[in-house]
Symmetry: C2
Subunit: 382 residues, 2 copies
């Protein structure tokens, strides 16, 4: 077994997950490098510096540009972007349903038009796995339909069953790919994805069905797509208890620091989200006491670091006043510093959480996390 | 004396220039951080990594945004951007004559409209020096009129004499500023700027006149503004011999690697130019064998580094294929890598030149520099 559960506190879990490119300490926040690069100008050495454990890239984007053949020729994503740690690739499912145009779903797969040049593309579950196999990620995700919330119950029910049939096809295709002599990453594993919109009973039934495939991990997909945080927590409360105890659990595309604290509280091990990098590029910077909007006038001559308690490369050297100037002057360095700080904040938050779990003090950590935020004034809530 | 001439070979010089923030080894290429940041997302730690000796910022830009008062409050530019090495600031003269709108020159100074918001601004020689004093740079430049080439002789003659009168005012204002108890950098020095367009006799006369002020260094300004390289070299051949032997000589805004090799050959010690950073952002990358346009189709699956002989952080880890992908995918990381590589190339070229001068082998270096470029095929000449 790749996953080892080290300790539990309530439903919160502390574990490790072994991959061909190193062992992941969970709970973990994966840093999103959609097109084999973190937006905002971060390189692989930056990922090392900010404590990234897992890099996450996108099958949909890399299929369109530069194409998986090129990355396979480079020796896989690890070699292409020179990132030596674990990589997870998503299946393209979410992007096809959020970015691509004119999509049409059939039993065989999805046809859609590229959001870049409108090119007509067809992707089946087998195609997605073949692409991810060429990318050589350590964790591949199943190809699913990401159903909108809200959607009619009948549609969600049928979609879940199709996603289940697709999952069997994904599993078989992965076995075929791994048997090939030129496979990029023979140790690649597949995670299944739970869907079911906000219908708890459909979520539970689908989770039970996909658990039967005995995959290496399971994700909860299709959340954080418009529903409230409370609705999301209710779905987690319903579905997580049905997820295999001995497999890692991944809450896809989530979320705010609060969402992560609550997800871990409910038994989630893996997270990813574009939010910290996107907020960083907009000057919304995370601190232990809340979120600063660094463009605000009040930081004009504030020569303190973003967060005096932060150990990131930006807080060690630069002031709020300097960062505000960079944003106001339109310097690319502003984006870079914003993203470095925010991803460091997320990676470091997860490290603090792991430390708390190690000591059996997660409940205390969670309380103090909220207390710090309530006691301090912040610029905005995001 | 701050300047020490260590060695000469023909007219080429190897020297050192002492500043309050460290000793500069000359010849030197200064890295341009117009708005207190290198364009393309490079931070002060990056400048350290790529071997930058001197950072150059712009009085015009910093006056408009964020304003010199703020930077003085931060403790000066060194503290504001956390760059511990030497800083040179230009006077704003060149930007007023190339960027600003509706400018009107009088004996007192120049009124112009900001290129950012059209705000009406007046800058006198005293203003420029007061701003540079607040910025606390190690080397301040005199406020001059940068005359276009070609311009009527009569106009150039009158302009040079006004620039001379302005230089006396700059020198006096700097003495006043340095006497103040709250001066940011008491060791700041002033360089005068030679003008005269492409009239050699006017250049020579102006140079003789400004040399009488016994400043700490002298620059040749108003070149690389449209004249051919040959015309520029002819002006240098005329004016450099009139420049004080015991003072550093700075050729402003120049230029290509070839221009620098030729400038040093003609006795120049300091250079600066936005070209390597701008080219880097456009994917035009310098190598010992010429310039690569990394966006070219032929680099699609070229897994070699930009330059196998380059020791920069980009060439150590990333391939041409990966860089091309980053440019094609519109990733900010592309710009960053392009600029890091190109500035490293320039800084390292100057280091090779200093090493050659140390050994009395500059003439051999210059020959082999051209030979390497002729023997190899390159994508373009820039």
């Amino acid at each position: 077994m790749s996953f080892k559960l080290l300790r539990k506190e309530g439903r919160a879990r502390r574990g490790t997950f072994k991959t061909p490119h190193g062992t992941i300490n969970t709970p973990v926040f994966m840093n999103v490098g959609t097109q084999a690069a973190i937006k905002g100008g971060l390189s692989s050495e930056d990922l090392e510096t900010i404590g990234c454990q897992v890099e996450l890239s996108n099958t949909y984007h890399l299929h369109l540009r530069p194409g998986q053949e090129l990355i396979k020729e480079a020796g896989g994503l690890h070699s292409f972007m020179d990132w030596k740690g674990p990589i997870l690739t998503d299946s393209g499912g979410f992007q096809i349903f959020s970015l691509a145009k004119l999509r049409k779903i059939t039993e065989e797969g999805v046809s859609f038009n590229s959001h870049i040049d409108g090119a007509k593309i067809f992707m089946s579950p087998e195609d997605s796995i073949r692409i991810q196999s060429s990318l050589g990620s350590d964790i591949a995700m199943a190809f699913d339909e990401c159903v909108e919330i809200p959607s009619p119950r009948k549609y969600v029910e049928a979609s879940c069953q199709r996603t289940l049939r697709w999952l069997y096809r994904c599993k078989e295709e992965m076995l075929r790919q791994k048997d090939k002599p030129d496979t990029v990453n023979p140790g690649q594993v597949l995670f299944g994805i739970n869907q079911g919109a906000n219908y708890k009973d459909l979520r539970i039934r689908h989770m039970e069905q996909i658990a039967e495939l005995d995959l290496d991990g399971y994700a909860v997909g299709g959340l954080s797509v418009g529903e409230t945080a409370e609705e999301m927590y209710e779905i987690l409360d319903a579905v997580v208890p049905v997820m295999p105890e001995d497999k890692p659990r991944y809450l896809m595309g989530v979320g705010t620091p609060e969402n992560i604290v609550e997800g871990i509280y409910r038994g989630i091990d893996f997270f990813d989200c574009v939010l910290p990098a996107r907020n960083g590029r907009h000057g919304k910077l995370y601190t232990s006491f809340g979120v600063l909007n660094i463009k605000n006038e009040k930081y004009k001559n504030d020569f303190r670091p973003i967060d005096p308690d932060c150990g990131c490369p930006v807080c060690k050297r630069y002031s709020r006043a300097y960062l505000r100037h960079l944003f106001k002057a339109g310097e690319i360095l502003a984006l870079r510093h914003g993203v470095i700080h925010n991803l460091y904040y997320y990676n470091s938050l997860l490290e603090q959480i792991r430390n708390a779990l190690d000591k059996g003090e997660y409940e205390a950590f969670r309380k103090s996390f909220y207390k710090d935020r309530q006691e301090n004034k912040t610029d905005s809530n995001i």
